[in-house]
Symmetry: C2
């Protein structure tokens, strides 16, 4: 086993890797500038391999399901990360949406996962805030959700307790002194190694954070997902409100929160939960997911002494525990095969 490990990136992947690797006895340093456009800072907080699943991505569902199974224990060790176990409602507004849910339900059934079809009336019995245009949906048990910012904070504490050192700056593999460098810089990983350059790209997304005001309806208990006029929208309840996400653009590293993005998120979220019109708009934020060609992460040796743990796209939070385990295994293996 190596002794000194440098982790480039302090998002959910970098911190999870650093925590687990430090706990195994290595001396770990995390290089990170706490960038506010990191994917795990600007995120919804869903751990949703099932609802995110789609025909053709069965391997990703398998990996996600394995990671999901690790989450309860991972969260228990971290302490308060706002874990929610109430599952997801995927709702439909028109016949096209119903068709999308039919495909999803059929796909999941083929994988041995049952979902419940619910009418609009049944959905509103579960979540009274759902709007009149919601005409049906799927109840998807098993998905989790958490507060991504509470998670980052808990991970930093766990890292510190495990002896991880933090350097508050960005670094490259050639500028750090370590036996092994782990590239976990999310959307920025492409700049850190030539092998990642053609593989990892930033996928911009925008989210909103809302909070109920006095007299407004309470947020839903479950995560609610929908397609509105073809645009996906999700509403993830938090202790202090709701995260609405997320737009998706291939726009490079443009950090602007756009008028069109906020307009779409507000409009689509209001169709699903009309009561949020009275909520406070606490924050609008843009961030960058680490996109990869097949939407699956890149976890493995790039060359002797350099490991990649990146490309998690929409699944960074979900895949953090299994990524940390895989990196630990690779380090125990000692080098590229």
């Amino acid at each position: 086993m190596v002794s000194r490990v440098a982790v480039l990136g302090g998002g959910v992947i970098g911190l999870s890797v650093a925590w687990r690797v430090a706990s195994s006895g290595c001396a770990v340093t995390v290089f990170d500038d706490e960038c506010r456009t990191a994917g795990s800072w600007v995120a919804g907080g869903m751990l949703a391999p099932v609802t995110e699943s789609w025909p053709g991505e069965e391997e990703l569902l398998e990996l996600g399901s394995r990671s999901l199974a690790l989450w309860p224990e991972f969260a228990r060790e971290l302490g308060d990360v706002g874990l929610r176990t109430d599952g997801t409602l995927a709702v439909a507004l028109d016949s096209a949406d119903v068709g999308v849910l039919d495909v999803l339900a059929e796909h999941l059934r083929g994988l041995g996962r049952e979902t419940d079809r619910l009418t609009g009336r049944e959905l509103r019995a579960l979540e009274p805030g759902l709007g009149p245009r919601v005409r049906g949906g799927l109840s998807v048990p098993g998905d989790l959700a958490l507060d991504n910012r509470a998670l980052l904070s808990a991970l930093r504490k766990a890292c510190a307790a495990a002896g991880v050192a933090f350097e508050p700056r960005r670094a490259t593999p050639s500028t750090v002194d370590a036996d092994v460098v782990v590239i976990a810089a999310g959307a920025w990983s492409g700049d850190l190694h030539p092998a990642l350059k053609p593989v990892i790209r930033p996928v911009k997304g925008e989210i909103l954070r809302l909070a109920p005001r006095r007299g407004s309806l309470p947020p839903p208990t479950r995560t609610v997902r929908a397609h509105v006029e073809g645009r996906p929208v999700y509403l993830v309840p938090k202790e202090d409100g709701l995260v609405v996400g997320a737009t998706q653009y291939e726009a490079g590293f443009d950090p602007a929160v756009t008028v069109g993005g906020v307009r779409d998120l507000l409009r689509d979220a209001e169709v699903v939960l009309p009561g949020i019109a009275e909520y406070e708009l606490v924050e609008s934020a843009a961030g960058f997911r680490a996109g990869s060609p097949d939407n699956a992460p890149v976890i493995g040796w790039l060359e002797p002494g350099v490991l990649a743990a990146t490309g998690h796209h929409r699944n960074g939070l979900l895949l953090a525990p299994i990524t940390a385990e895989m990196v630990l295994e690779l380090l125990r293996g000692g080098g590229p095969r």
Copy 2:
């Protein structure tokens, strides 16, 4: 003339009064906590007595017109406040809006002020960014606009140069040591004197600040105003973008930027200027106008040693120069008549 004057409030009214009074030879102290929900911080920056005019408010138009005439010299003395002299386009989207503009044009004609009626085509020749739903409008010459935040900054500098002292806290008439106290605390003035309590109320408003991004259409040259489904919206160009305003609520001092408010402003502004969908949403802010029963300011002695300069509602920026002149006159008079 009195020698020591305390000004309670450092918005556009308090600072204008302090500047002019200090320049006349008094020792002036401004008490202000630079609150970010002050009306003059969260403002559009229009100096628009004509376009804001409405039957029944002829005296306010008269006062506004007199103050507008003072503005070019006032601005020249202050330096860079982003003054714009291109006037206002008041545009109509449907026959109800056309009716509103007819009332305004007729009203202004009766007061001897001519406006130009323009077709949609003529409007788009002036401002190519106007959307296809804009079907007609009025060109209102004479209105000015400026950057309210540049103005506040310039006023603070001018005050400092004139010897004004600043105390970075809120104060009340009974807690300051001065010959005369001027209450210029905007929406908060009602708490500072029993005579103002029943008169001044906060009128909440929300604005958005937008900025063009690379490749997006440039902002309009003129201020553009419209009613969209009965809601008034204005778009005021700035050097670095556009201010969109403003919602209006009787909601006390609730400082929340609401989902419904932002949604309405974005939707209505996009109808007027569709190209802003590509703009950056730089800021959403809520602030409080100092409402009064007749929408006119309260400027005068409340008791010996206590003067009011408040209640400017939507017209604080416009009326700042004339308010400062009136306060100076009252101080020269020496006390309540």
